[in-house]
């Protein structure tokens, strides 16, 4: 008898939370909702090789929206934020995919960025913006994490330091979420406000 209200509250909270998440993402026709299966896609990497999300079924996948022209991205690349995380978790089976939805950039721009920073991960060419719009990527950087079951478990900023003034004291949401996933825990911060430059999308994009 005594447990009923708690169970009731738990179910009710779950319903409310799911509704909240839908409310967060749903109004703008985005399909990448935390707790729901991540939308599938196929894009070409910097060498023209097709890369599909389904290639990595059963693995944790990190998606990073990137734009080499964006000062927020430049700051994180100078600091090695993304490269350090990608290398740290690569040995633990985590896949890192950067996606460039900047409408005026191509595979050559992506290749140059990879060479400049000796990146251990590909940059996928989404200059038509279809996958960016599908995920509702708003900023560069904008981060998404997909768990081993293919569910989206995080969407938001790379950390809590939009101005880059915390000098090592920033909370890196992606690092925290990956540590939790790799130790079998639920992601405690599944959503945060992303920051950065707006994604420079093409004016018109066909539905993916």
């Amino acid at each position: 008898m005594k447990r009923k209200p708690i169970v009731g509250l738990a179910i009710w909270t779950l319903v409310a939370t799911t509704w909240a998440m839908n409310a967060l993402a749903g109004d703008r026709g985005e399909r990448a909702t935390v707790g729901a299966p991540a939308p599938t896609f196929t894009l070409e990497d910097q060498n023209g090789r097709p890369v599909s999300l389904s290639d990595f079924a059963g693995k944790i996948v990190v998606l990073e929206w990137v734009n080499p022209d964006c000062p927020f991205v430049q700051r994180h690349y100078r600091a090695g934020t993304m490269k350090r995380l990608a290398e740290k978790y690569q040995s633990k089976g985590v896949v890192w995919l950067a996606i460039n939805s900047t409408h005026y950039m191509d595979k050559e721009d992506n290749r140059r960025w990879i060479e400049k920073y000796k990146l251990p991960y590909p940059i996928l060419d989404d200059h038509a913006g279809r996958v960016g719009r599908l995920y509702g990527a708003k900023t560069t950087p904008h981060m998404f994490i997909i768990d081993t079951s293919g569910k989206l478990v995080y969407r938001g900023g790379i950390d809590d330091d939009p101005r880059g003034t915390k000098n090592g004291g920033a909370l890196n949401y992606v690092e925290r979420a990956l540590d939790e996933l790799l130790t079998g825990k639920p992601v405690s911060i599944s959503q945060s406000k992303p920051y950065g430059c707006s994604v420079k999308y093409a004016e018109k994009s066909t539905a993916y």
């Binding site: 939370t17 409408h103 708003k138 101005r163 430059c197 994604v199």
Partner: protein, 314 residues
């Protein structure tokens, strides 16, 4: 409405011609740490200057300081809530000890919608961010007061470029003197949002929604009854690191406007007591006006909240 802006721009351009006369205004090397985004090139699209609405101050005087941002065509900087992307502009005034500094005042922002439904809020062309300052009573006539400010911004067009600067302004202590910038400050004051009690066009506001205990999401509906139907109604929500706020749907019929949006608490954040936003509209004679709307977030504090302004409904 376009023409009124053009006239306004011309007035400012005329005023700008006398900016260099007095008071002293110079840039000093930036020592602030608001931004660590990169170096600012010489041909930066934004110029910032520190100005006052007086050119001399007397002991105990209240005056206004402002940082005037001149923004090249095509570029924009951001409001205190940048929206989906960007970064809030920062202005930190640093008057000497003994001066009392008021809150930073932000003129009505514009809304930008970029491809991909990216909504941001900010300013184009020109904006003056202001704060009132009260001088201490024990200032020595004949001395000079040095006022400092730091400004930081992100400006965006096709790409985004950060900027920051440290600014300095010297004012003589003596009799209060008007400044060539007085009209500029008056013009920008008229573009500040007003408190709900000072608005002449809103008759009644009714707020529905709010978080009940343990709820993580709610739908807030503002019902505004106007004394005369305004045009171009816009909603600018404040920024709160604990909240996610969806774009609002705005419906107007006759003299009634309904503004509805969802608010969710982000994971591991606690519900702030209150929230606010700006309702911006254009009056029948073309003036763009804004009202600051405070929104309590706890359901018990919200539901059925009705504010009547000093004007009664006709």
């Amino acid at each position: 409405m376009k023409s009124s802006f053009a006239v306004f721009g011309m007035t400012l351009a005329v005023l700008a011609g006398v900016l260099n006369e007095h008071p002293v205004n110079m840039e000093v090397p930036a020592s602030g740490d608001e931004y660590h985004l990169g170096d600012v090139p010489n041909d930066h699209p934004v110029k910032a200057q520190l100005l006052a609405d007086v050119s001399g101050i007397h002991p105990g005087q209240t005056f206004t300081l402002g940082v005037l941002f001149d923004i090249q065509p095509g570029w924009h900087i951001y409001w205190q809530n940048p929206g989906d992307a960007g970064l809030a502009t920062t202005v930190t005034f640093a008057p000497p000890e003994g001066f009392q500094l008021g809150k930073l005042q932000w003129p009505l922002p514009e809304k930008f919608i970029e491809p991909g439904s990216i909504i941001t809020y900010g300013y184009t062309n020109r904006v003056l961010l202001m704060a009132t300052v009260r001088a201490p009573d024990d200032l020595h006539p004949g001395s000079t007061v040095e006022l400092r400010a730091r400004a930081g911004w992100l400006c965006c067009r096709k790409i985004c470029i950060p900027g920051q600067t440290a600014l300095r302004l010297e004012l003589p202590v003596g009799r209060s003197r008007s400044s060539p910038h007085t009209a500029l400050f008056t013009a920008w004051r008229s573009r500040l949002p007003r408190p709900i009690t000072e608005d002449e066009h809103l008759g009644r506001l009714h707020i529905e929604g709010g978080f009940s205990r343990s709820e993580t999401a709610t739908r807030i509906t503002l019902t505004l009854d106007w004394t005369s139907a305004p045009a171009e109604i816009e909603w600018f929500p404040a920024a709160d690191p604990a909240l996610s706020v969806t774009p609002a749907t705005i419906r107007s019929q006759g003299r009634r406007t309904e503004i509805a949006f969802h608010v969710s608490i982000l994971p591991e954040r606690t519900l702030p007591e209150s929230f606010w936003g700006l309702v911006v509209y254009r009056t029948p004679n073309g003036h763009r006006m804004g009202i600051t709307i405070p929104i309590p977030l706890r359901a018990e504090a919200v539901s059925g909240t009705t504010s009547s302004t000093k004007r009664r409904m006709p």
